[in-house]
Amino acid sequence: MDRIRDRDGFKGTSLAAPLACLGREAFCVAMTESLIRVENLHYIYSGASPVEALGGIDLTIRAGEYVAIVGANGSGKSTLARHLNALLLPTRGDVWIACANTRDEKRRRDIRATVQMVFQHPDSQLVAAVVEEDVAFGPENFGVPENELPPRVRAALDQVGMWACRQRTPHLLSAGQKQRVAIAGAMAVQPRVLVLDEATAMLDPAGRAVVLDVLRALHHQGTTIITITHEMEEAVEAERVIVLSEGRVAMDDTPRRVFTRADELCALDLDVPPVAALARRLGLPVCLTTEELCAALTARGPRVGAPSRINKVRVSEPQESIIRVEQLTHSYLRGLPLETRALDRVDFNVPSGAAMGLIGSTGSGKSTLMQHLNGLLRPQSGRVVVGQYDLTNPATDVRAVRRMVGLVFQQPEDQLFEQYVGDDVAFGPRQFGFAKEEVRERVRWAMESVGLGFDAFKNRLTNTLSGGERRRAALAGVFAVRPQVLVADEPTAGLDPRTRAEVLGILQRLHAEGTTPVITSHRMDDIAALCCRITALDGGRVVAAGTRREIFSQPDLLQAHGLDIPPVARIAQELRAQGWPIPSGVLFADELVAALGAE
């Protein structure tokens, strides 16, 4: 690492000093290629119990690099990101952006003009009520001359493909669109560096793919991209992957070399991309794309083996439906100028005991359908029958329906309102009028089933829990009522890989114990693991319904409706196209490995 600075080198007259400063910096910029330099960065979050988030980071990032920063929760990724645009200042050590020290208040504006950031939550970074005005917000703050503002806004919105939506209001946009607007807002400042702090965490696969395309294009144009992510498939896009662990750099190398060290990553609570995981299981050298996998397989040996049959577990024909939805139609804001039709003559059956998956791109009507299943929404036309209750009848006891059908919304941890965990979990049972001892028993059962020990957690303050614990506490709150059907909207959204696996396990256990789960998710691998029957929606209509193998054997149909198939199935499909004898309907890594005759 070059050490061009020579702090003590320039002494002299009062005139020489400022000139020397200028010269020194220009010299620095000219001599080093490092746009961002982090030296011995330490950061401690002050408070009742101080936490050392960063324990000595040394890093150099050159102009034009595409860097991915990964790490488990608490490894310091976000903290590091916020040092790059002077949102946080080091407790010890230095951060230099284009040779300006972040501690220097006079240079702060320049630093922020050089490094722009896009955050995780779409709603909390859009400031204006109209898209184009929000994109202009950044340049306005930096005093860009007024006649230059419209061309910049136009260029930025074009880069993300949102110019057509320039007059829309933020709250009517999808999460993916909001994030694209946020990126446009950052690019309108014309920064040299774009930092994305888990900017795709809240997006569905389609939204994420569009954002990745945008990043690729920006990188091509010379912007330095630094992306912080949980998704290893995104890290593969980068030229360089930095792995953080407990506030220090654990690995800093190309994606290929990093993902070769799968055991170390596992020890750090991290994944490898699905293709790489598969390659590893097959004993192949590390592969980052399916093409490489094919090539490596071919290199290894001829296409051998008779196509084996998948052991299809005979799904017994459903005896009875616990929920029946017939020709359901629903419109929001009926009679008002902004009316939208969310469901159009939907038929939906949930067989008792079968785990049901509901898939669809954003706006397909999944959430609306779910809210009909426990009477939050009443059928405007059509029928909804839950157990013996007909929800079309206004006199139906809606609360009885809600005892039978529990509903968990997205981000359920945002709904915790009691001070103590135990009280919050007890809310449901209490509302339904159970006796005190009964309530206590249910709360105990619910908390144990989500892995929050009853005695350990019942008196914890809700706001002292970690993100994963909060999610589980919210789940417990719905489980405590012991509903027969559990409807969960994106139960694993926004979670890191480890917590995601835990929640999946919880849902599987619940299913085994007799509850009927109805799950929506954007993650097809979760749906494949959990649900044996799937219904797909698009634009408020049912476009496909059947067993999971049936549905996921139709990738073209799904793609036409903005959906995808699980990663393993995708890999299997591509291998099949290359001539490998893989039976259709392969969904899981085990099956694929067996079909390739590797073991």
């Binding site: 703050n141 007059q167 804001l333 008002l336 919304f409 945002d414």
Partner: protein, 290 residues
């Protein structure tokens, strides 16, 4: 039946780009116009005057090509209270002027006088007009335009320490987040209903307060967390207050604006100058003598 669609009731803060002549006016003119009309309606004492004001307001809304029914819909929550107040005023006769009041109907303590009728009409018409006028501002101008307008109008006061741009920013953030928070509140209500809570309106005050707090607590917590994120986002995007900022929304004064100001001035003059007071008196006298 429960109604969770809060967005239906939030008519303030929604912008409708219908492209009407009102939309094209300079926001400063619109703000001044609305403020002047509001001031007029508040000081006018005569019922017929305020009614004319209400008619003018309806005309303006029609001119803006906004659906009048939708605009009035926002009044619905307040309706109960209004009607209650109106009945009180009508029957107990609390009115400003006590002169020339003929009693029309009397029973024990209840007393309906001509003055109280006048007062009730003024109350209802004024409230409706005020509500619609402020709505008109947001229907026809984007928040940034309004923020710009407010900021420009407050600028002369900066010398006395009023932070014009900062206040405009507060205003922008508030109105921008009303629909977002409405959706969030809706989600909270639904989640609690799903867990067995009874969200019917009209139950006793104690229960309603508790219900409200159950929703408000998470809303506040999430709002404070959101404020952390929003503050970081604002700072990251370079916002440090009003100094040194340029503006995307440009304000130009055009002929239409001058015309609009003149029209408003004429209306106000008319409202004050015309003898509405006498007109009222004669109508009420007619009622009294019948």
């Amino acid at each position: 039946m429960e109604d969770f669609e809060l967005l239906r009731h939030v008519t303030i803060g929604q912008y409708f780009p219908t492209g009407s002549p009102l939309h094209r006016l300079d926001p400063r003119v619109k703000i001044i116009g609305v403020v002047a009309l509001v001031g007029t309606l508040v000081t006018l004492q005569s019922a017929s005057g305020v009614l004319i004001g209400l008619v003018i307001t309806f005309a303006l809304i029609a001119l803006a090509r906004v659906d009048v029914q939708f605009a009035l819909g926002g009044l619905a929550p307040a309706l109960q209270i209004l009607v209650f107040l109106a009945v009180l005023q009508l029957v107990f006769g609390w009115s400003a002027r006590v002169t020339n009041c003929h009693s029309l109907w009397s029973f024990w303590l209840l007393n309906v006088t001509t003055c109280s009728i006048q007062a009730v009409v003024v109350l209802l018409a004024r409230f409706a007009a005020l509500f619609l006028l402020t709505g008109l501002l947001t229907f026809t101008s984007t928040l940034s335009e309004l923020a710009r307008g407010i900021e420009w109008l407050l600028r002369p006061f900066q010398r006395v320490g009023v932070p014009a741009d900062e206040l405009a920013m507060v205003f922008t953030i508030a109105l921008r987040f009303v629909p977002t928070l409405a959706l969030e509140m809706e989600k909270l209500l639904k989640a609690q209903a799903a867990r067995g809570a009874n969200i019917q309106s009209g139950s006793n005050p104690v229960a309603r307060t508790r219900q409200l707090l159950q929703v408000l607590v998470p809303l506040f917590i999430n709002t404070l967390r959101r404020s952390d994120d929003l503050t970081a986002a604002l700072e990251a995007r370079g916002y440090t207050g009003g100094a040194g900022r340029t503006y995307y929304i440009r304000l130009h004064f055009q002929r239409a604006d001058v015309v609009a100001l003149l029209v408003v001035a004429a209306l106000i003059l008319g409202l004050f100058a015309l003898p509405f007071g006498m007109f009222d008196q004669s109508v009420l006298n007619m009622l009294a003598t019948k």
